[in-house]
Amino acid sequence: MIQLATSASEHRTLIMSLFGVFVIATLGITLWAGRQTKDAADFYAGGRAFTGFQNGLAISGDYMSAASFLGIAGLIALFGYDGFLYSIGFLVAWLVALLLVAEPLRNSGRYTMADALAFRMRQRPVRTAAGISTIVVSIFYLLAQMVGAGSLVALLLGVSGDGAKRWTIVAVGALMVIYVTVGGMKGTTWVQIVKAVLLIAGAALMTVMVLAKYHFNLSSLLGAASDASGKGHAFLEPGLKYGLTGTTKLDFLSLGLALVLGTAGLPHILVRFYTVPTARAARKSVLWAIGIIGVFYLMTLALGFGAAALVGPKTIKASNAAGNTAAPLLAEQLGGGAGSTGGAVLLAVISAVAFATILAVVAGLTLASSSSFAHDLWANVIRRGKASEKEEVASAKLAAVAIGAIAIVLSIFADKLNAAALVALAFAVAASANLPTLLYSLFWKRFNTVGAVSATYAGLITSVTLVIFSPVVSGNPRTSLFPHSDFHWFPLENPGLISIPVGFLAGAIGTWLAREQADPAKYAELEVRSLTGLGAD
């Protein structure tokens, strides 16, 4: 490990210059996009001028985060088959977005998720609830990205890099604020597109190199991985992480539910549907995204099992207990091993790609949450629709700075968690607070303001409370956020199994108990708009 750290830091210049090229190129794009960003539709929705393919790439860029690349590869490398569930859940979830959400949302909203949720409701309470939940989900997600960034820096700069790690997180935060405030949605979308291409290329290169070592025989790769894991065939079977007790099995079920229902409630993904001109283009972008993301997740199998076989779980764990550095370590091994020039070059390339990934996702999240703050909370709730467009965009930019600062501060505490597990919490919150409201609002005629507000708050409060009192936050001396205290009483790490049904139930109960009736004319308008695209922006 010490040898790895020194050899890596000798080539730090290479990593920094590769990453520097990405930063300069994307800043150039951002400046160019910034000059074209004139009104609110440009800032929030990139002028709605992207094609289905471009937006499909950008969606993939937004979705294939540090959690997918670093987190899943690490989980597969450490826990074998159980890590693969993440890939499957993250992909299948796109069908919910494709079949039920993407097109109606594109047709009935303008800039934010709350636009569609509040369409036929009383604006202020629904926008307040949706705005708050947008910001909470995005901050959970941001945290996961920052944790990934932190683990990478620790790998590249060695164990002594605590100060450097903080500075890197601050630098990532500062860059994302620039992307968002200067480039708006147009700049951020192009950054996602560039990053998606880089990430796919990097992952494909490593996949081919791993498979070539095993003569393109999946079975021998799996055999080598299970031998190196020290766990034998159990490594290739379900249960290593989640099969231990009845509780961990329930945790697996909870995770599975959160993954498949979370995607269609993620605000930073939903706002992507506004960047294309029509619902048909929104559908096309999801189809492209499913293809790109699906291929990428198939490659995580090769990356994860390859890291287990070629690097070995011991080395991975010594570098990062949660496995977040498995992919870069694999790159170094594939290039020729620690200390070799080839190893250092490939490590540098893959680390730079991972940084680019993190930076782009973080920018997308910041944009979605600051848009929601400005458009929902500031313009519609606080200023009651009296804010000018200029004022609204200015408040979005200020919010981006504030959200960046919050993410930086929080991420300093969270570095022991696995990036994918952390993102799964964001998925659980999204599935509990956003998805019930979104689906009811689109498809249930009787659904009303009280129902919308109760579903959002009940899902949000239940999921966040259960996370706070789960082993993720306290009680586990090795992996908890606060390892030295124990105030946990909820046994599962992922709250989805409880909080998703709570969100759906609360929406139904709130609707039934409310004295006010839903407005049938507004529902007719929403139905016609969402299915035909009539009157859409």
């Binding site: 499957i88 198939l298 035909t532 009157g535």
Partner: protein, 116 residues
């Protein structure tokens, strides 16, 4: 790209009651709802088998490739297939109907709606 003039509220109500719109809605719902239920159940079956039937899942199929991996890869295959199926359905049954309704709405002047 250029949005037509904003339709009047009465116009939405009239379109919603029209047989064309009802057909569009049912061909959307009759596809999207059952297919969603189907793939969610198929996915949950996979998750439950992974959780509660590890012995079955560890059945070897070829070499080191076991049933768990095959079922996992089948989830990928079914996702791609359902996405393609929906794209075909939407292109054939949804887009043309939506276009007819939009075209008709644009042809009807907004004032006519308010005269009713």
């Amino acid at each position: 790209m250029t949005p037509p003039p904003e339709p009047a509220p009465e116009q939405f109500a009239r379109i919603e009651e029209s047989p064309e719109f009802r057909r569009l809605r049912s061909s959307f719902r009759n596809f999207a709802f059952p297919v969603t239920a189907g793939f969610v159940l198929w996915y949950l079956l996979y998750v439950l088998l992974s959780c509660y039937a590890p012995d079955l899942m560890s059945t070897k199929v070829v070499g080191n490739i076991n049933l768990a991996l095959v079922l996992g890869l089948l989830q990928f295959a079914s996702t791609f297939a359902i996405a393609a199926w929906y794209a075909r359905h939407a292109g054939r049954r949804l887009d043309p109907r939506a276009a007819v309704i939009r075209g008709r709405a644009a042809a009807v002047p907004v004032v006519e709606g308010s005269a009713e």
